[in-house]
């Protein structure tokens, strides 16, 4: 579960990136987050993953109020969130297997269990054959899918994705969104930040729209007409 309550974020230097944002994403819900470049989408995801702190307001993740936790507890909260970022964040000197296994090794899973889960996760993203490859041997889309496999391998209740389909062709973008749908079907809450309005229109999921840090719409986007509004045309 994700709950934002009146959250504002001012960056050092005084830029107000989020203004009094409130919303809730229920367990097992899937939603999109959209808005112009610079609207504050990434900022919102960073607040959830505790890369940034809110200036005002409270954020609750999986029942934990983030402002009340100590530095030492941050990793444990992060383990409950699968995060996928556009730059993949893969370790370039480790194999695909080792990259995907990382969250499990960190949590101290046994060898056998790790192997089983990593193979399962790579199968879901159709990369079973690339187990022993290094990330530089993979295409952008394949790297993106390794990142997704790593995000879901320890079965977190929440999945966050920032532009997961950026730089991907429409076919692959759709494949990846389908993948998120599969996880959502298994009860994972999914929040996807994207520019790709065409994708959102096809999906008919709840969509949160940010504009200059304000949450301007929250609901099912109905066709391209609403997207025009978002673009401000």
């Amino acid at each position: 579960m994700i709950r934002f309550n009146n959250v504002s974020k001012t960056y050092p230097g005084g830029f107000l990136a989020l203004k009094q944002v409130s919303f809730t994403i229920a367990p097992g819900e899937m939603a999109f987050l959209t808005g112009h470049s610079g609207a504050g989408k990434s900022t919102l995801l960073k607040l959830m993953s505790m890369m940034e702190k809110p200036s005002v307001g409270s954020i609750e993740i999986n029942g934990t109020e983030l402002s009340s936790i100590k530095y030492q507890q941050i990793p444990y909260v992060r383990r409950g969130i699968g995060m996928i970022f556009q730059n993949h964040n893969l370790l370039m000197d480790r194999t695909v297997f080792d990259n995907v296994a990382l969250p499990l090794i960190i949590e101290g899973y046994s060898h056998k269990e790790t192997r089983k889960r990593v193979e399962g996760a790579l199968e879901k993203v159709h990369l079973s054959s690339k187990l022993k490859c290094f990330p530089y041997m993979l295409s952008g889309g394949e790297q993106q899918r390794v990142g997704i496999a790593r995000a879901i391998v320890n079965k977190p209740p929440i999945l966050l994705a920032d532009e997961p389909t950026g730089n991907l062709d429409p076919k692959l973008s759709l494949d990846i969104i389908r993948l998120f749908e599969d996880f959502n079907d298994m009860g994972v809450s999914v929040l996807i930040a994207t520019h790709d309005l065409g994708l959102i229109a096809r999906m008919k999921y709840r969509t949160l729209t940010l504009k200059q840090g304000h949450m301007i719409t929250d609901g099912i986007v109905d066709g391209l007409q609403t997207l025009g509004d978002v673009d401000g045309n």
């Binding site: 992060r78 970022f85 556009q86 964040n89 893969l90 990382l102």
Partner: protein, 324 residues
């Protein structure tokens, strides 16, 4: 009852399994971090050498102090008191005196050299034989050489004995040739202090150097650390391989120091054999004992661990994951 029993043994199994897994994981990480050192051979070798050489100096000085102590102990017990009797003392009363001294509980052995013996010996050695013929009377005093019992042969006790003997009516003057010994002892005490001072300074620099090496390793791995934090790694998980690296530096540096000290001790003892041959004394230079070697290892490991711990504390926390 039966199910309860099986459940209990099952949980016990799980428990031992977890403990075993824990140790296996640590072992893997320890070996893995040795591999990391191998990946930056130049830095690793330099760090290990600096650690090894830094510990070699105080360890060698310690050997010097240790051996000086054995030497002074050995030579202490061979100490002798020379008593020059008054010229007026007759041969008979001198004999009498020797017998009296023999009865001292502190005294082990007494040798009497009469004035005549002394003179003829002097004639022989000095080569003034002819000239001395012209002397009216013998200018040399009779001499008594006193060897104290072993337990009175320490500098302090021997000095007290000398004072006591000098009070004897026949004695003109006594001499305890221990000045150089006290000087050696004082010197070895001074060296001990210096060793301690140098050791502390070198240890400090070793900690700083290892801290710096680990800092560079951390900065090298900055991106990987950020990713690990992103997927929920605790600081203690991230710092573990760096702490192991510190321990490995310690182990290897300690071994280098041990080897260097052994080589130096061997080199010195060859030189000493030549020197002591001249003095016809059998002196064996003692190297590091096994306990001392272990202590050296322990110090090296502690320094490696401390250096990496300080560095890890400072630098790992500062790395934050980023999304872009």
């Amino acid at each position: 009852m039966e199910t309860n029993h099986t459940r209990q043994s099952k949980s016990q199994l799980a428990w031992t399994g977890r403990v075993t897994a824990y140790f296996i994981r640590h072992l893997q990480q320890a070996i893995g971090s040795l591999g990391d050192l191998w990946r930056t051979p130049f830095t690793s070798v330099m760090t290990v050498l600096v650690l090894g050489i830094s510990l070699t100096l105080p360890a060698t000085l310690h050997l010097f102090v240790k051996n000086t102590q054995t030497v002074t102990e050995q030579w202490n017990s061979a100490s002798e008191i020379t008593l020059f009797l008054k010229l007026s003392t007759s041969d008979k009363s001198a004999q009498n005196f020797v017998q009296r001294v023999q009865l001292y509980p502190e005294v082990d052995n007494v040798v009497y050299i009469s004035a005549e013996q002394a003179l003829s010996e002097f004639k022989l050695i000095s080569g003034f034989g002819q000239a001395l013929e012209y002397l009216d009377n013998n200018p040399l005093p009779a001499t008594v050489l006193v060897t104290p019992m072993k337990r009175f042969s320490q500098v302090q006790a021997a000095r007290e004995l000398l004072v006591k003997l000098e009070k004897e009516r026949e004695v003109d003057q006594g001499k305890l040739d221990l000045e150089w010994l006290t000087r050696l002892e004082a010197m070895s005490e001074l060296i001990e202090d210096i060793v301690l001072g140098i050791a502390l300074l070198l240890c400090l620099s070793v900690v700083l150097i290892i801290g710096n090496t680990i800092r560079l390793a951390i900065l090298n791995q900055k991106d990987a650390i950020a990713v690990m934090k992103l997927v929920g790694a605790t600081d203690s998980f991230i710092q573990r391989p760096f702490l192991y690296a510190g321990i490995w530096y310690g182990v290897l540096g300690g071994l280098i120091a041990g080897i260097c000290v052994a080589i130096l001790a061997n080199y010195f003892s060859i030189a000493l054999v030549q020197l002591t041959d001249l003095y016809q004394s059998q002196f064996v230079l003692a190297g590091l004992s096994f306990a001392e070697f272990l202590f050296l290892q322990l110090i090296a490991i502690a320094l490696g661990l401390l250096g990496s711990f300080i560095s890890v504390r400072q630098h790992i926390r500062a790395i934050e994951p980023t999304a872009d």
